[in-house]
Symmetry: C2
Subunit: 361 residues, 2 copies
């Protein structure tokens, strides 16, 4: 079945690996000989147990997790995590450090404060429109955790290295999880809405260090406690089966086809270098993030005028490049180049950008 496909630079939901989509399509009426679609099988069945356990196992291997971390799947996206994190991890008298690097960090801080929790905003890049990642941050000594947003989709910034502190880190990695290797042992919680790098919308991966599970207070509603998910392998109630299944296939692709996170990171670096390199050599396009804080996932850039940006986005779409519009809150242009967007797509985009510049400069 040959079908029309575009180069997809969406910020999320975003491109998925074509072999994953093809496998879902081929088996959609009959999942592994069950005579049912993956959307029709029971979550209390051996075939689905195999799916979720495989997703957990691949996550453990890809991120080199030790036994002290547990992999959970929760609904509600990162936004639900903004709420659950302070609810579970900040008891009476506790305070947490948050670094504010953009809209998502700001929301995370808001959701903690609305619960009456004590938040120290120990650094912020709001002074320069969130165009950089702060350095030399005065983290508090006794904070319950330090919260960061590892990659900022809207402004196109990313932590090159994570803070080297004793306080356990908590990070929203929605937009760069599985894009590069890192030392997970320092994180009390890593969470990631799947719809950028690891799957479709509708499931959030949460990787929790087991000592953080002990912090959950008694008396919380079941669906708001991490322990509920940890105790039941994320199946206290019916999980989002299709989203978990798709995520499992994406991780399989990452492990078996790409070859793991070192290789994925190299490809992602190559893609980012190609795009930023072209932008830096152009007087027509201009990157918006400070160079040392640039994201390898979301390349944000401007053209000489908003009119040209509008024409650029429209012309690109007509030529098969989708998703290049900047976030509605900031305008401009953005190319999201997550794991599933190949170097071929980036090279084609660069060629298009050069052509557009030639015609419109």
């Amino acid at each position: 079945m040959t079908q029309h496909r575009i180069y997809n630079f969406n910020a999320g939901p975003a491109a998925l690996p074509l072999p994953v989509l093809e496998e879902i399509q081929a088996s959609f009426l009959d999942f592994q000989g069950t005579g049912m679609s993956i959307t029709e099988i029971s979550h209390r069945s051996k075939p689905f147990d195999a799916v979720i356990n495989d997703a957990v196992g691949r996550t453990q291997r890809l991120l080199k997790l030790g036994d002290d971390h547990q992999v959970l799947f929760i609904q509600g996206g990162a936004s639900m995590q903004f709420c659950m994190i302070p609810m579970n991890f900040l008891g009476e008298g506790d305070a947490a450090d948050y670094v504010n690097t953009g809209a998502w960090s700001t929301k995370a801080i808001k959701e903690a404060r609305i619960q009456g929790k004590t938040v120290n905003v120990v650094a912020s890049s709001e002074d320069k429109d969130f165009s950089y990642i702060p350095g030399n941050i005065p983290f508090t000594k006794d904070a319950a955790f330090a919260h960061i947003t590892s990659n900022n989709t809207i402004k196109g910034t990313q932590w090159a290295e994570f803070p080297d502190i004793q306080t356990p880190l908590v990070s929203d990695m929605s937009s760069d999880i599985m894009s590069r290797p890192f030392d997970a042992s320092r994180f009390g919680l890593i969470y990631a809405g799947a719809q950028k790098n690891i799957g479709p919308a509708g499931v959030c991966m949460a990787i929790i260090r087991k000592d953080f599970l002990d912090r959950t207070p008694a008396g919380l509603p079941a669906m708001l406690k991490y322990t509920t998910f940890a105790d039941k392998n994320s199946m206290f109630n019916t999980p989002p089966c299709f989203a978990i299944y798709t995520l499992q296939l994406v991780l399989k692709w990452l492990e078996e086809t790409v070859g793991g996170l070192d290789k994925m990171a190299a490809v992602n670096q190559e893609k980012a270098d190609a795009l930023y390199g072209f932008i830096d050599n152009s007087d027509f396009y201009r990157g918006t993030a400070e160079k040392e804080s640039r994201s390898r996932m979301n390349v944000t850039f401007r053209l000489p005028s908003e009119d040209l940006e509008k024409r650029f986005i429209e012309t690109a779409l007509g030529e098969g490049f989708g998703g290049l519009k900047g976030h509605r809150s900031v305008g401009g242009c953005r190319a999201s180049i997550y794991n599933a967007t190949g170097i071929d797509a980036v090279n084609a985009l660069v060629a298009f950008m050069a052509e557009f510049e030639k015609k419109n400069a």
Copy 2:
């Protein structure tokens, strides 16, 4: 593409209409000419707006909703609603009536009480193992709402008619929504995990009467407030796009192919009559729910011994009838005959049951 398909009697996730699955499959790599999968398009795009708005419009028409109700899509299943309902609708000094008709009602009550809310359990059928729906219920006069579970998947009971009281009703309709027409105007909130009658796991439909939105207190986390979903057409954050899309196609099938809820209810009655009629004429099979409380969605029955039940379930599976095992908490057998399970499947099951009886009685 011809693929192996079984008769699916799963309790949830459950059978979906075959034309819906085929449409998803056919367009899975290229949704409506976008050159992207439905799992890859932005939720902030015209094609997805059309999907969610169509799902809302069809819900309004199928249930004949007035302007005073709003249709929302929330993650976390009915279990999250168990938590959100008391959080949003029970203020200081308020109390709610709950009718306890089984495991799901029991969980709903627990989630209200854990928040310190006042719950009056005004009736319970626990005295007879939840095998019936209570009558002549002494509802409280000034309750904030009266909560019922319209259909009980585990014990196979269903409210034939809803309580005729002034208090606004709140109902978990996860397992019978869209199976029959009813007067929605008396409900402050109707909620339904999609994975039984209207879609895949991963999205919960919530139909809220607008005066109930006014009850939401200030100071709740964003993802736990109904107003957050109402204010943003369920897209405050990234919604579970694929689940909503599938749900939209199921509602389209219900409206355009089946012909609406009157016709669906007639088919469902025919299916239930065929199965219960056969069971009642047999000395081998025995229904477990009281006759006047029987569910038209979940037909629970026993065989003369647990050994025979085990053999029945295994033999059935071998002959292409899946999902006939009773809930793990109660054992026995159960045939879930939701909207998407056709009369052909029920007739085939009855023929199989007759044959099995002949061989094993």
